[in-house]
């Protein structure tokens, strides 16, 4: 997604400007903390989806055939 690319660039841009002003160790701790948060969020999401996703996905995906409507 183009939108994503832009966001990534933006974030890395602001990180480098911070690095000019604060010690490197502090900046990398901050990056680590952010990465941990993202990972925890992703783990939580996977658990949430695992709980509700139908087990017979292949059967449903194959047999879900609709007549056109409207």
């Amino acid at each position: 997604m183009a939108a994503k690319d832009t966001e990534t660039k933006k974030q890395s841009g602001s990180t480098s400007s911070r690095e000019d002003q604060e010690p490197e160790a502090q900046a990398s701790a901050r990056t680590r903390q952010k990465a941990d948060e993202v990972r925890e969020e992703a783990d939580a999401l996977v658990d949430q989806i695992d709980e509700i996703l139908e087990e017979n996905a292949e059967t449903f995906v194959k047999s879900f055939i609709q007549k056109g409507g409207e």
């Binding site: 997604m1 183009a2 939108a3 966001e7 949430q48 989806i49 047999s63 055939i65 056109g68």
Partner: protein
Amino acid sequence: MTQDPNDRIAGIVGTEVEYGLSWANRTPEDPERLSSELIGHVPEACHAPVLWDYENEDPRHDARGFLVEGERENPDDPDNRFLNKPLYNGGRLYVDGAHPEYSGPECASVRDVVRYEKAGDRMVAACQASFSGVRSGGPPLLVLKNNSDGKGNSWGYHENYLLPRSLPFDTLARKISSHLVTRVLFCGSGKLGSDMNPSDSGKYFLSQRAEFFEIPLGLSTMVHRSVVNTRDEPHSDRNLYRRFHVITGDSNLSEISTYLKVGTTSLVLRSLEAGALDPPVFADWVEAFRRVGSDMTLKTPLALENGKTMTALECQEVLVSQVRRFLEQEGMNAESADLLGRWERILEALRSGSPLVERSVDWAIKWSVLSRYREKKGWEMTDSRLKMLDFQYHDLRPERSVFQMLENTGQVDRLVDPMEVEEALGRPPSETRAYFRGEMLRRFLSRVHAVSWSSVVVDPGEGPLKRLALGDPWKGTQKRVGALMGKSGSVEELLKALNPLPAGE
């Protein structure tokens, strides 16, 4: 229209939602029957057991001025009851071909459109739960609020906008086309895999519907779908009004996407009606729609009639600036101002990649979930478990719906309070003729024989049934008839007082 332009946006709007349905382990053999059985479980608190009045229904008129061949529908009474569930909220739950369909009541605010559509989803979910309760032990029935099965079949989501007949149809078609093609950016509901091209089975699309469109203008909604639909069945006074029937939209789960889809279209139509819109027009509407619907980069240049090119986002930015200029001159009510602000913010968010998009636009919410889940699992994009996740985003079962899970855990933005939706299950909106229809059913049920969009057929006690015409969607509002209906102790008193129906505001 006789409305004060500062009073509310555009005219009257209503939406129609068709739902997909299937057993968890097999294709239904008789989906028409299954749809009827499903809607037979509509909660008593929602459904008024009267007939649907087919007298004024005729979908064969084309806005370009001709009548196509075909049969008018008019089922006998038992079939009528089997296929139709008129609703106390002024809407209609029914069977349309092989699908259950909910048509919300006519609304005069976009926020109402959102909450009545949401009420419809809740009603159909209640049908699903009750149906499954009766048939416990069998395979679960899945009811999905989506628009394609991944195998080349699509069913609809339609919007209806009341417009003055005086607006020439060819002007309307030409000037609205670019918005219908590019609004996908904030109201596509996304899908994994092409319906038409097996080699694109792992590709993600912004629009569920765009692939199915073949021609720029046309009457049919089931084959040779057109970007601008020409159905001319106003369900109101044909000399004054037009019901503009939009068939390009996806069904949305996100309240924000629904609000933007209907709200921006209303604002564009209002500007267009006033002659204040001069939009870019694409050289090939169908090609442009399909490209926008499959372009995750948001950067594809689209050919314009004038030989230049423009991206969908650039086109939207032109549209929103023209609408802003018009509204600033005309004045705007709180809802129009809110819509305009949200419209500008979502375009800015799409351009900059702001997280707002992944909290409010269906295709982006779903993509964010799908891509994060896939990354963790390490699966191929073509894995059927990911397509299942796509389908379950649209699942109406509260305990199995991915969207509902995201909503419950605060991962997506909402617009309306769940209590407002609850109220919309059993009461009509107050600012259109839906009020009169719904309140007649609520107050005088035993004397109402049938209803339709443009009529209420009552049993006057003596003599033949009496058809009250609701030819003006702005008449029959709470403001005009609420007190009268409250005072009338009987249908006879009401009929006497309502002769003729009081004029609209």
